[in-house]
């Protein structure tokens, strides 16, 4: 880790290792409805991170003894492909993946109207194929778009973003190099943007309350930006459907006119 000390985290122009400003997200691209067999799906690119999400349900929860007569179960499965990290990862889910699956599922449970679907399960499968810090936030962001794509009733989308600290500076959406800073703090955060309630919160690093508050509030701003990107991605899907529909209608009109002329 000696090398990381030589890195200039913020240069004289206020730019970060990858050229971003301190409060700048990496480029995010979200495409809903990318997998035909899933009931809802999404693809996300968030910087180098790439993930695919597929959603099924609500469907009967099996075996029967796992059913909850009061609500739907939210089964969130987060996995990283063996080749998605610098050293090959074991295909067996590790402790990190199990923990992330748990807290992310709980974050979405708050947003989904689970009480409307007793005895069922909503299965959300997320696979990462490339990674560079912030994968759980990218995964959760895409998962909430996939749930909307599946038409599952929700109170709001869930928007996620990490915030952190490197070399004494609070930064939005840290990349791997920044996560490895000697004074690094990493705080993945997810909110339901309409109410700003916090549905996922984790942190590691060592930080005092004042600095934490600054980081938290920057993180909220990041989540709100992510929210806009999610909404645009979903709207685009329906605009495309509408355009297709319009074309079809025009085509039918033409055909009809031809028939009338005859």
């Amino acid at each position: 880790m000696a090398k990381s000390e030589e890195i200039v985290y913020i240069n004289s122009e206020g730019k970060r290792v990858d050229g971003r400003k301190v409060d700048e997200l990496r480029p995010i691209k979200i495409v809903p409805s990318v997998l035909s067999r899933a009931e809802g799906s999404a693809y996300i690119e968030w910087g180098q991170n790439k993930a695919l999400v597929g959603v099924f349900g609500p469907r009967e929860a099996l075996p029967q003894h796992i059913q909850d007569p009061t609500k739907a179960l939210v089964n969130y499965v987060y996995r990283m492909a063996t080749f998605s990290v610098p050293d090959r990862k074991s295909p067996k889910p590790g402790r990190r993946e199990i923990e992330i699956s748990k807290v992310s599922g709980e974050a979405l449970e708050r947003a989904i109207f689970v009480e409307r679907f007793p005895n069922t399960t909503i299965d959300i499968y997320v696979y990462l194929f490339d990674s560079n810090a912030g994968t759980r936030c990218a995964a959760l962001t895409a998962a909430s778009v996939a749930l909307a794509d599946a038409g599952i009733p929700m109170r709001d989308l869930v928007s996620a973003c990490a915030v952190g600290r490197a070399a004494g500076t609070i930064i939005l959406d840290p990349c791997k190099a920044e996560e490895d800073a000697s004074d690094a703090v990493d705080m993945p955060l997810a909110i339901m943007p309409r109410t700003k309630e916090v549905v996922l919160l984790q942190m590691d690093g060592l930080i005092g309350k004042e600095e934490w508050k600054k980081a938290f509030e920057l993180g909220i701003k990041g989540c709100l930006q992510v929210y806009e990107i999610q909404k645009k991605a979903l709207k685009r899907k329906y605009e495309e459907i509408a355009e297709e529909e319009e074309k079809t209608i025009k085509q039918i009109d033409k055909e009809l006119k031809k028939v009338e002329k005859k």
Partner: protein, 263 residues
């Protein structure tokens, strides 16, 4: 996952009482259950501690072992935290590999200690790139009566504080001979709050955990720094609630630290 039915039946009562800031066991909102700490619980362990928090009962043991450092940190040892829910700790626990709850618990306790820098990993190095001490902290949950987070972190720290470093001869650990104590520079501890019906309360007992909407655990040190944060459960928190929990965590963890006597 059908749970302890008896506690679920009390959920309504818990949720009703909390409206007037009352708790099933008569505690104040920000009051811990009685805590008993017993150190040196296991003679074969290099350090150990049993914590009884109300009826919650956990035992942490430390074993030091020599191994090759990780390639990316050749001059450092490390710590590893494991959690095992003993099958008799609750009617819903089953033998087998750690489930989501045990995994989350182990990782949050790990982060709380690791990130506080209570243990200097560089000081665990014996020979760069060749060998270093690895500190294995294993936590056994004997009775789950709620708030395993705080009980486990207290037991883990208690065990670390009386951990002795074994003597090495030809790279082998010499049984029952020690060269000194493990240096623990900070006192990192978790403080956990439950949110029920919009109210926050400290140290949720099992009935309160069954009734809670969400949970937040905050790792703090005596220097008023945070080393870990973890929200759990299907509910949510507002910024104001999180800030209130942080302030309370600094205050309440100080009470726990007083209970940890160092010989």
């Amino acid at each position: 996952m059908r749970d302890d039915i008896i506690w679920e039946l009390r959920s309504d009562k818990v949720r009703e009482l909390i409206k007037s800031s009352q708790r099933l066991d008569g505690r104040a909102l920000y009051e811990y259950r009685p805590i008993k700490i017993e150190t040196d619980f296991s003679k074969n362990a290099h350090g150990s501690c049993r914590v009884v928090l109300g009826e919650t009962d956990v035992i942490a043991g430390v074993k030091m072992d020599v191994a090759e450092p990780y390639p990316d940190t050749p001059d450092e040892g490390s710590i590893t935290v494991g959690v095992e829910f003993m099958p008799m700790a609750s009617p819903v626990f089953e033998p087998g590999p750690p489930d989501q709850n045990a995994t989350e618990l182990a990782r949050v306790v790990d982060r709380c200690i690791r990130e506080s820098k209570a243990i200097d990993f560089k000081k665990l190095c014996i020979e760069e790139g060749e060998k270093a001490w690895f500190v294995f902290i294993d936590i056994y949950v004997a009775n789950d009566s709620g708030n395993l987070f705080d009980a486990s972190s207290l037991a883990a720290l208690g065990a670390l504080l009386n951990t002795k470093i074994p003597k090495l001869e030809d790279d082998k650990i010499v049984k029952d001979e020690f060269v000194g104590k493990l240096e623990v520079a900070k006192r990192p501890l978790l403080t956990t709050f439950a949110k029920i019906n919009g109210k926050l309360l400290l140290d949720p007992a099992i009935a309160e955990e069954k009734a809670m909407d969400a949970r937040i655990s905050i790792g703090t040190t005596e220097e008023k720094l945070m080393s870990a944060l973890q929200k759990g459960g299907p509910g949510s928190f507002t910024q104001a609630e999180i800030e209130q929990c942080i302030d309370l965590a600094f205050e309440k963890s100080a009470e726990l630290r007083k209970l940890l006597k160092v010989e």
